[in-house]
């Protein structure tokens, strides 16, 4: 049986399948223009967002979108898409040219950049060594305690008041890309580009809002707590300490702020005990007691106070009830307490 015959027999066992006409297509489709978001924008930032047909490395990038501020309130965008699958390399070469600005993404550390890196390897394209900033982790720190949805569309709507018109949902991108390849109808890619532009706009506006929120010296307790987390993660313990100090004792965030302020104080080379004392109340917080015991002993030489902190930690752990999970912490508290008691004994003798 010839190969063709065998394939025909094989075909009978398969479902579906269609042949598509191969048309002449441009190597790259591009979209370029300006947007006026009506919000302040940051200079020297290049916003990047890509669209793909799925999460796997082997699947192509179907659109790369860039945006940057031309004036304080005008956003310039450039978007490129391969006219066919063989043009992905051309797109990467065109779209990934080096730039001096900071490249800003939302979830880019996990998605956009690794995917571009992977596709660049496939197409033998050199990815520039960008200075990169991913807004998602910062957004988590700044707003995560508010329990708001942190997807780009959601946070853009809830935080920045961006009401994007109904557009192609993210899960429709693969299907639109397929339809474009099948039919050559640019309208399918236009929809993807529109979706991408909304994301770029939300990204740029969010960046401006976040920068303002981080710099807001008059922030309320809620935002001050977020600022402290951002500063702490960025290695700015003094600023973090100042921000956490603005969270009052009667705030629901006071206890968490105390724990983080203790960490910031240690990094800044300052006394942590007072901050850590905040972290031990009102809810049972055995680990904070352990930290407090450590700080009292080291910073003040207050061994009795440290023993009392260990005792409070052991009581707090008992109150939490989950002894199996808390066993390692209990061991640490008991070990420290024994050592402190021995120390007192030695001092007295």
């Amino acid at each position: 049986m010839s190969l063709e015959d065998r394939l025909e027999a094989f075909r009978q066992r398969q479902k579906g399948g269609s042949s598509r006409p191969a048309g002449t297509r441009p190597a790259l489709l591009t979209w370029e223009g300006r947007l006026a978001p009506g919000r302040p924008l940051r200079p020297r930032r290049r916003y990047l967002d890509i669209e793909t047909t799925g999460f796997y490395d082997g699947l192509p990038v179907v659109l790369i979108g860039w945006a940057w501020a031309e004036a304080q309130d005008t956003l310039h965008f450039w978007q490129g898409s391969p006219g066919d699958l063989d043009a992905e390399g051309d797109l990467l070469r065109e779209a990934l040219k080096g730039g001096q600005s900071v490249v800003v993404t939302y979830n880019g550390t996990s998605f956009d950049l690794p995917r571009l890196r992977s596709r660049a390897v496939t197409w033998d394209v050199t990815l520039p060594d960008w200075e990169h900033e991913d807004l998602l982790p910062t957004a988590r720190r700044l707003y995560g305690h508010r329990h708001i949805a942190l997807g780009l569309s959601s946070i853009g709507r809830s935080l920045c008041g961006i009401n994007r018109p109904p557009d192609l949902p993210g899960e429709g991108i693969a299907e639109n890309a397929r339809l474009f390849l099948e039919t050559g109808e640019r309208a399918f890619m236009d929809e993807i580009a529109a979706h991408n532009r909304h994301d770029l706009l939300a990204l740029a506006v969010l960046d401006g809002r976040m920068a303002a929120d981080i710099a807001d010296a008059a922030a309320g307790p809620d935002l001050a707590f977020g600022q402290g987390r951002v500063h702490l993660a960025a290695g700015r313990p003094e600023e973090a300490l100042a921000a956490f100090s603005r969270v009052p004792d009667d705030s629901p965030l006071s206890q968490r702020a105390g724990a983080m302020a203790g960490r910031a104080a240690r990094l800044a080379g300052r006394m942590a005990a007072d901050h850590l004392a905040r972290a031990t109340r009102p809810l049972p917080a055995p680990r904070a007691h352990l930290e407090l015991a450590r700080a009292l002993e080291r910073e003040r030489g207050d061994v009795e106070g440290a023993i009392a902190a260990c005792d409070a930690g052991i009581t707090a752990l008992s109150l939490l009830g989950d002894m199996a999970k808390g066993a390692p912490l209990m061991a640490l508290l008991e070990r420290r307490r024994r050592r402190l008691v021995r120390l007192i004994g030695r001092r007295r003798s």
Partner: protein, 690 residues
């Protein structure tokens, strides 16, 4: 380190000279050193270079990891030597991807994790010097056909990254090691098959349990006698391994053995145990703390379990090569050893028991692969295109011009031609849809409805109508489940746990039609032919068989649509007069008896399990117009079994004829024609073809 054996020296020299190498020497002859030394040599010289070591199982890779590290440490060589499999912690994975010097993994991981994510491994592939394939003989049949394509994908990517790794292989004895290596890798290695390692004296006994009733050839199951022999050895302080055929039998034999020798430390070993547990048992055997082990063929491969002096095999393994592997588990350190094979009642066991000369005197079987099986090849072409687009002038192993195949995939929407190249065009992850361990297009997932819809296992699609039809009893990890519903559209079987004391056995009506005859030749008074066939099968009824007594407890209907498959087949045709002496109502039974004997000896000719080849008999075949027995490859498209059966048709017929004529039963039994009666007619049919 002391001196190396001659075969190890040859392997190292050939590898260092840049050749692909295949070592084919007995178990425990030190093949590992033959491929580790050249790899470590390049590291010791500071030449860099990465090596990918493939083992058929995770356990074997783990086992070899310790040895490779020990050797590197002895030689003072630094480098990251690590396994990369499902058990590798995420944190370690990135280190291995970026800086692994020796990466030990398995084909499934290579297929689904390394190759599709090759961009993460770019440095590794660019610097790839050696690909090691240990236990080469395992890669046969469907599995081997898939692995051959995985290796095509690997070498294609290596080529893309500019490396041209040498392939170092090690295999147990098979009849066609060089050909197998060529089929699997597309390379023609230097074959080193003269072992320089000394071997201890080896005594092998084949025991045929006595008939229960003289003249019936009905014999007890081999497990009881095998346990008795193992217990006798252990009682005398002889380190012993007992091989049985199924996971369930491991548990059963272990229980019986523990009762017989309660003071001796023995362990069961099989797939399905947690990795840590398996490592603990292996370590116990190596250190001598455990004196015995009951195992499936999981211990057939080269996991280091130290010195055992007695191997007992409860029933003949599926192939001669496999039998030698199991026997090789005793006497690993050049000391005298003994192996006992207890024959079962299957035709091939009985044939071998009566023809031990065949076992000792004949070469072992050929290991067959068919990497160009369209079902397998097309799936991997899609996966390979996902990894890197295809140019039409590329080759893929030995497939030659790819244009037709690529165009076919493009026509089906899997690929898309653009700019003269073929790109993967779907939004899926193709490797996920390819299971290397089966040739079937898809699997049916077994879903436990009592556990929130948790999948507990899979069966290949063609087996589903007989194994997981409605009301079937499905056994998994020693538990029994009742199938509530088989949904073939969704490829799911919904089950719930049950305490059933019976198993189910489905009857499958198979019709074979010939699509094309490729070859035919006369044999005796009939002829044997080869070609493409279409199978149509329909599960009709099922029987309920008591688990302990084997008693038939009742039956039920199976309401499923018929299914079809294209594959390769061999058919033996008799002239109409061949059945003239048999009354019309008994002709089918006589012909089926001959078919049973023929299919019974097929596994002896081919290196495959008995279930790999199916049989169907037709008193008046619509295609031949005569009495015909079809033997067909059970894998869609075939893996080459039918072609081999055709080539060895004369041997097949004479062996089947001898099986029946020499069987001590009077009128037929499960060991020869499958049931009672018509033995003489079946024997006459077979003899007429010799």
């Amino acid at each position: 380190m002391g001196e190396v054996y001659t075969h190890q020296a040859q392997a190292v020299e050939a590898a260092l000279a840049g050749h692909d190498v295949l070592q084919v020497t007995p178990t425990a002859s030190g093949k590992t050193l033959g491929f580790l030394l050249p790899i470590l040599d390049q590291l010791a010289r500071g030449e860099g270079g990465r090596s990918l070591l493939l083992f058929p199982t995770k356990a074997l890779a783990q086992d070899q990891l310790a040895g490779a590290r020990r050797l590197a440490e002895l030689a003072g060589i630094e480098g990251l030597i690590e396994t990369y499999d499902g058990d590798t912690p995420p944190g370690l994975r990135r280190s291995v991807e970026l800086g692994g010097h020796l990466v030990l993994t398995n084909p499934d991981m290579l297929h689904a994790a390394l190759l599709p994510h090759h961009t993460k491994w770019a440095k590794f592939f660019a610097d790839l010097r050696y690909v090691v394939i240990d236990e080469l003989h395992v890669y046969r049949g469907v599995f081997g056909s898939h692995v051959a394509n995985v290796l095509r994908r690997l070498l294609r990517l290596a080529d893309h990254y500019g490396s041209h790794p040498a392939v170092l292989m090690a295999s147990a004895t098979v009849a066609n090691p060089g050909a197998l290596a060529r089929h699997l890798t597309g390379r023609s290695p230097v074959v080193i098959d003269e072992s320089g390692a000394p071997e201890g004296e080896r005594l092998i006994a084949i025991l045929n349990p006595p008939e229960l009733l003289p003249g019936t050839n009905t014999r007890p199951a081999p497990l009881g006698l095998a346990v008795d022999i193992a217990a006798a050895g252990l009682a005398e302080g002889v380190p012993t391994i007992l091989f049985v055929k199924s996971r369930r039998m491991v548990e059963l034999a272990y229980r019986r053995l523990s009762e017989k020798v309660p003071k001796v430390r023995v362990a069961p070993y099989r797939g399905g145990y947690l990795p840590n547990e398996r490592r603990r048992i292996e370590a116990g055997l190596r250190s001598g703390q455990l004196k015995g082990v009951v195992s499936t063929n999981a211990l057939e491969l080269g996991v280091d379990i130290g010195q055992l002096d007695l191997a007992v095999l409860a029933g003949l393994p599926p192939s001669i090569a496999s039998t030698w592997q199991q026997i090789g588990r005793s006497g690993r350190r050049q000391m005298a050893s003994m192996s006992v094979i207890v024959a079962g009642s299957e035709p091939r066991d009985q044939y071998m028991a009566r023809h031990p000369d065949l076992f000792f005197g004949s070469p072992v079987e050929s290991a067959l692969v068919n990497p160009d099986n369209l079902h397998v090849l097309l799936a991997h072409l899609g996966a390979s295109a996902f990894e890197m687009p295809f140019s039409p002038d590329e080759t893929f192993g030995g497939t030659g011009d790819l244009t037709t195949l690529l165009a076919f995939l493009a026509d089906g929407g899997v690929l898309r031609q653009a700019g003269g190249r073929y790109f993967f065009a779907q939004a899926s992850f193709p490797a996920k849809d390819i299971s290397l361990r089966t040739g079937a297009e898809s699997n049916v997932v077994i879903v436990d409805t009592s556990a929130g819809g948790r999948p507990i296992g899979e069966v290949d699609r063609p087996s589903a109508p007989t194994l997981v039809h409605d009301q079937a009893i499905y056994m998994h990890m020693g538990r029994t489940y009742e199938v509530l519903r088989l949904d073939l559209e969704e490829n799911k079987a919904y089950v719930r746990p049950t305490e059933a004391t019976y198993m189910t056995d489905a009857n499958l009506a198979v019709a074979v039609s010939v699509l094309r005859q490729d070859a035919t030749r006369a044999t005796g008074g009939g002829c044997v032919s080869l070609g493409d066939v279409r199978l149509t099968w329909l599960a009709t009824i099922f029987k309920k068989i008591h688990l302990e007594t084997g008693e038939n407890l009742g039956w039920g209907r199976i309401e499923l649509p018929e299914d079809t498959m294209h594959t390769r087949g061999v058919w033996l045709t008799w002239p109409d007069g061949a059945l003239a002496e048999v009354t019309a109502d008994r002709r089918f039974a006589a012909l089926s008896g001959a078919g049973h004997a023929l299919s019974g000896v097929v596994p002896i000719l081919t290196m495959t399990a008995p279930r790999d080849v199916g049989v169907s008999s037709e008193v008046h075949s619509p295609f031949t117009g005569h009495p015909t027995v079809f033997l067909y490859d059970r894998v869609p498209g075939g893996v080459g079994l039918a072609d081999q059966i055709y080539r060895q048709g004369a041997d097949l017929i004479s062996m089947a004829s001898a099986l029946v004529s020499e069987c001590p039963c009077e009128s037929g039994c499960p060991s020869c024609i499958g049931g009672e009666g018509l033995k003489a007619d079946a024997a006459r049919l077979l003899a007429s073809l010799t």
